[in-house]
């Protein structure tokens, strides 16, 4: 099933080394995986495991030490700053743990913000932002400033901002890290719902195993390496979710245990897949890079035209 789907993100032998004074700290060590279109992927790990770094690398916010990350067929670490900015406008959305809203702007203006960079005319972008805020249930809070809203409401604004431009990929770094349990569930449901409606790909970082249950694919990270990659059957999960709604949080662990058993079988297939992928990738690396660059030029030309 996975093979039929379009590969959106390809992570190949990615390595990230920090320099702290004279010490070198390896945050991410030789990591490779794929994320497919429409997938909800979760990077699960304890704090300091390198999961956030990996997300930042995938988003092009941080520079790679070695390896490559290919998003939509383009090697994002070979792009110029300007093209990367254009690329972010077009394909990427972000949800942050600390919301990162502009305090001086109203909710509506915050959601409008990425559209401003995309040079969308004021009337149209205002409508888009309003529709998005209505969708996340903040119809009555359009003109409120972030400081006048609760954490959950702020994160809803953050989600609206991430999804308003209809990006193909949305990165979420601990989106519920500052929220209470009830709001967490609401926010997670919201993200999932919005993403599913538009067949958008989500890459989420969390340390909370329960939240990982929302994902289709869980990549467990430990000390900068992949511990395991688990695929969850979406149909199966749907049933579980309905159970979860009625039962208290303790059921999460049970569910996880049950799932773990099933996953063992799947994991074997998955690993085979990865191995074969790595082989094919290494064969085609040089070729794909060239075509990637060509495509980049095309898209930048296209954006100029659309301007």
């Amino acid at each position: 099933m996975a093979e039929e789907k379009e590969k959106v993100i390809e992570v190949r032998n990615v390595k990230k080394v920090y320099r702290m004074g004279s010490e070198r700290i390896t945050a991410v060590e030789d990591v490779s995986f794929d994320i497919y279109k429409g997938e909800f992927c979760c990077l699960l790990g304890t704090s300091g495991s390198g999961k956030s770094t990996l997300l930042n690398l995938m988003a092009g916010i941080e520079k790679l030490t070695s390896g490559q990350i290919i998003i939509k067929g383009k090697n994002i670490h070979k792009m110029s700053e300007k093209n990367l900015a254009k690329f972010r406008q077009k394909y990427l959305g972000f949800v942050f743990q600390s919301y990162n809203l502009m305090n001086s702007m109203t909710a509506l203006e915050n959601v409008e913000f990425p559209l401003v960079f995309k040079r969308i005319p004021p009337k149209r972008r205002k409508k888009m932002a309003r529709d998005m805020l209505v969708k996340v249930g903040l119809k009555t809070r359009l003109e409120h400033k972030p400081k006048q809203m609760s954490g959950g409401q702020q994160q809803r604004v953050g989600i609206a901002r991430a999804f308003v431009a209809k990006p193909e990929i949305v990165f979420a770094d601990e989106p519920t890290g500052n929220l209470d349990t009830k709001t967490t569930m609401e926010v997670m449901e919201l993200i999932k719902e919005v993403a599913r409606a538009n067949n958008q790909t989500i890459v989420m970082v969390t340390h909370d195993r329960r939240l990982a249950e929302f994902a289709d694919k869980i990549i467990r990270i430990l000390d900068g390496r992949i511990e395991s990659i688990d695929l969850l059957n979406s149909d199966e999960k749907m049933d579980k979710e309905s159970v979860e709604d009625t039962q208290e949080p303790e059921s999460f662990q049970e569910v996880a245990k049950k799932k773990e058993e099933k996953k063992v079988e799947k994991k074997v297939d998955e690993e085979d897949n990865i191995q074969s992928l790595i082989v094919t990738q290494s064969e085609t690396t040089s070729g794909s890079e060239v075509t990637g660059d060509n495509e980049l030029e095309e898209t930048s030309a296209a954006t100029v035209e659309s301007d």
Partner: protein, 448 residues
Amino acid sequence: MKISDLIKMGLRNLSRRKARTALTVVGVVIGTISIVVMISIGIGMNTGFKSQVMELGSLSTITISKYAAIKDDKGNYIDTKEQIINEDLLNTVKQIEHVKTASPVLNAQLTLKIGNSVEGYAYCSVMDVDAMKEFGMPDVQYGEMPTEENPDVLIMGSEVPKNYFYSTKGNRYEPYQFEAGKDKILAYMEMYQYELKDPAKRAEFYLGTNIAILQQNSQYDYQCFMSLDTFKKWYMEAIDYIKPSDKKKAIKALKEYETIQLNVDNVKNVSKVEKKIKEMGYQTESLNSYLAPLEQTSNMMQMVLGGVGAVAMLVSAISIANTMIMSIYERTKEIGVMKVLGCCITDIKKLFLFEAGMIGLIGGIIGIILSYIASFCINKYGGPLFEALMKSTSVMYDNSVTTSFSIIPIWLPFLAAGFAIAVGVISGYYPAKRATKISAIEAMKTEG
């Protein structure tokens, strides 16, 4: 980002930090005021000098003197040169292009007697009646200028009646105030260089009340004038009383002039004509040669004053840079988020440059408005101070000259506004560059 969005966002950012923006703008305001006011004072001074020099006579007049002073480029006296000035030269000079009128100017020394007890002594310039007006002689306040019917008129400068007569009663020589229309004058022409046949006998010329008094003008105030025709008539009469041996010399002397004055059609052509006469081997003098060093002085003053203004502007430039750097520290997180949301670094740079330029523009406009007020106040109340200042720089300063001390020409506000914007943008350049270099990941980690 669209320009309209950029402007909206920039203005919003400025209004978010009202106090700091206002203080920085005040810096620019002070800088602009000092530059505009200083330059306007310099221009006012220059204009003042010019009108003072004009007061000394017409700027379009050139003088060729028998004893000509030779000056260096800065107007300092070096030497005197004696040159022969006669009718031939007068005729050649008249032929030069741009010369409107030319007249010889001779000197006569007259003793004036009123009755038996009052005597006066007058130094008299002699020239063609027609030329007098051309050379900028002021109008008469009493009597009439010489005409064909009445050629023999003695023209007095405005100070002559007050200062040049004294009583010969006793030996105290008390000053005597001449009363025009009442006192009747008997004139003698003095010829000290020749010996008289009989020291007691001299030529007498009865003028009676036939005199004219000029209006005030510093160049004409302290001497008398008479027409060339009258002078020639009197001279020929007077030489009858000198010894025959000197007579020939005296007649020959009449052919040589003390000076020739000529009037040029336009002030701009004065130096051109002067150059031509100099090529003929004659030394000339004109108010232009006064004006040049004065203009140099005022240019120097202008530069010094402008420099003071520039220092104030430099300080305000530093304060703009400081404000923008502070603003970057404050907005580090915001910049990081903007970058992650797909804002081009060029847009971030433009945003900061716009904000800095805007501070310059606002400060410039307010500064220009205040400069006009300041200029008005200087002209109205700054009189005593600036008179003292002008006196120290110009020997010829005359209180009667009423000029503006501060003049703002039409181009100055535009120049000042442009300069203020430029200062803003230039001092905002470094902070803007810095803003673009902020790493998004570091920026998002900071609080704010």
